[in-house]
């Protein structure tokens, strides 16, 4: 849906960081405006606010993946530096270098897995420790994500109310899918790190 001339000023300054693409943001605005069919400046302003929220949500959805990936490095370093492994590992290599080699793939990965298996540990153990290491930041991250979802549903409710008033009808407008479904369909799903 084309942004009317009177509302273009709302989209002059976009909330994108330098590693994000403005075209992706515009796509999101298009998607929202197609679904919600805004009219008038107030509704377009709501679209802008909704798009900002979804954009932030998408950004935040990426963070746990980074945190867990990084947490896995720290976790493996901690496991290898543990007293049980200490002697065996130091005889071979420094834990830091071994961790770097492990994440580069190749032979080091296989040998490390073999060593871990001796102590009843596996890849899940590394991930579990990673979650433990990053628990604080992850909790903050998920709390902010939940807050954002709440704000989005609130904004959609306001929007619906305004649209109902505009169309002067007693029946509420059905915006393609209900509030929750709209939140779920637009927000990307969280994918477990490989």
């Amino acid at each position: 849906m084309r942004i009317p001339l009177e509302s273009t000023f709302l989209f002059r300054k976009l909330p994108i960081l330098s590693d994000e693409r403005a075209s992706d943001y515009r796509e999101l605005v298009d998607e929202l405006s197609d679904r919600l069919k805004p009219e008038g400046r107030w509704e377009w302003r709501s679209i802008r606010r909704l798009a900002d929220k979804y954009w932030e949500l998408r950004r935040l959805e990426q963070y746990p993946r980074h945190l867990i990936q990084e947490g896995r490095r720290t976790a493996l370093k901690e496991i290898l530096g543990d007293s049980a492994f200490g002697e065996e590992v130091s005889a071979f290599r420094e834990p830091g270098k071994l961790v770097a080699a492990f994440f580069d793939g190749g032979k080091a990965k296989k040998t490390t897995y073999a060593r871990l298996r001796k102590y009843g540990l596996n890849d899940t153990s590394i991930s579990a420790r990673a979650f433990e290491v990053k628990a604080g930041v992850l909790a903050d991250c998920y709390r902010i994500i939940t807050m954002l979802q709440l704000e989005i549903s609130m904004l959609l409710e306001t929007y619906r109310e305004h649209q109902r008033l505009r169309l002067d009808s007693k029946d509420p407008i059905t915006i393609e899918g209900d509030t929750d479904r709209t939140v779920l369909t637009l927000a990307p799903k969280y994918t477990e790190p490989a």
Partner: protein, 246 residues
């Protein structure tokens, strides 16, 4: 019972005691300006008026204007918080990938403030070790700055330089910087959202009842509406509506 213990604890908490503590706390409000009243800023007052006009449109009755004003004020609060959040994202991202060129001035400033010997190289070492990839660039800058590198550069030997950081750890560092700050904005965000929800509740009730030009009964508006427009629930709503309309 609970409220009395809350009051007792509140009386005991009198804020910072030391001079330094008081000085630090006095700057808190300047951090993001979110605790500044909207009415004290003429720009924001004009913004509220504009939003009310957009929200109410042609169906402007006094009661609807009052309700729309609450929504507009709450919206502005939410927007201000969003702006503060976006600022934090920008700062975090700048931490993550600050280009080396941007540090040129920083290096020069440090060089001039530390003098040629001693502390200067200590500072440089710390800077360089933070970002080993930029080492060569820093050395070039040193030459440009006409600073004689009469120093032991052995710390740049391969085995002493930290292994190259993976991109994840840079991103994670910025996320770890960002999260507590975003959490700091949480209470403002919660407060603004609660205000917005209350305003919406009133807006819905007002719209529901104003369709047949019948003011909502006091019971229907309830406590939240009354508290939001700073009226006691006992006040006769019909009377207020007529007063507002005049």
């Amino acid at each position: 019972m609970k409220s009395s213990s809350v009051r007792r604890r509140a009386r005991a908490a009198t804020g910072p005691v030391t001079e330094l503590g008081k000085k630090i706390v006095s700057q808190n409000a300047l951090l993001h300006g979110l605790s500044v009243s909207k009415r004290s800023d003429p720009k924001l007052t004009a913004e509220i008026e504009e939003r009310v006009r957009l929200l109410v449109g042609s169906a402007a009755t006094a009661i609807r204007i009052v309700a729309a004003e609450q929504i507009a004020a709450a919206e502005i609060d939410v927007d201000r918080i969003n702006e503060a959040r976006h600022h934090l994202y920008i700062q975090a991202f700048a931490l993550e990938c600050k280009p080396v060129e941007d540090r040129r001035d920083e290096i020069r400033m440090r060089a001039s403030s530390y003098g040629r010997l001693g502390g200067l190289w200590g500072a440089f070492q710390r800077l360089i070790l933070k970002d080993p990839h930029a080492t060569k660039h820093y050395l070039n800058l040193l030459q440009e700055s006409e600073l004689e590198p009469e120093i032991d550069l052995s710390f740049l030997d391969d085995d002493k330089v930290k292994p190259p950081e993976n991109p994840d750890s840079k991103r994670v560092r910025s996320i770890e910087w960002l999260m507590p700050r975003l959490r700091g904005l949480d209470r403002y965000s919660k407060r603004a959202n609660a205000r917005y929800r209350r305003a919406m509740e009133i807006w819905r009730l007002v719209n529901l009842h104003s369709e047949d030009h019948d003011p909502p009964p006091p019971d229907a508006v309830g406590r939240s509406a009354a508290s939001h427009v700073c009226l006691s629930p006992a006040v006769n709503f019909a009377e207020i509506t007529s007063r507002l309309e005049h």
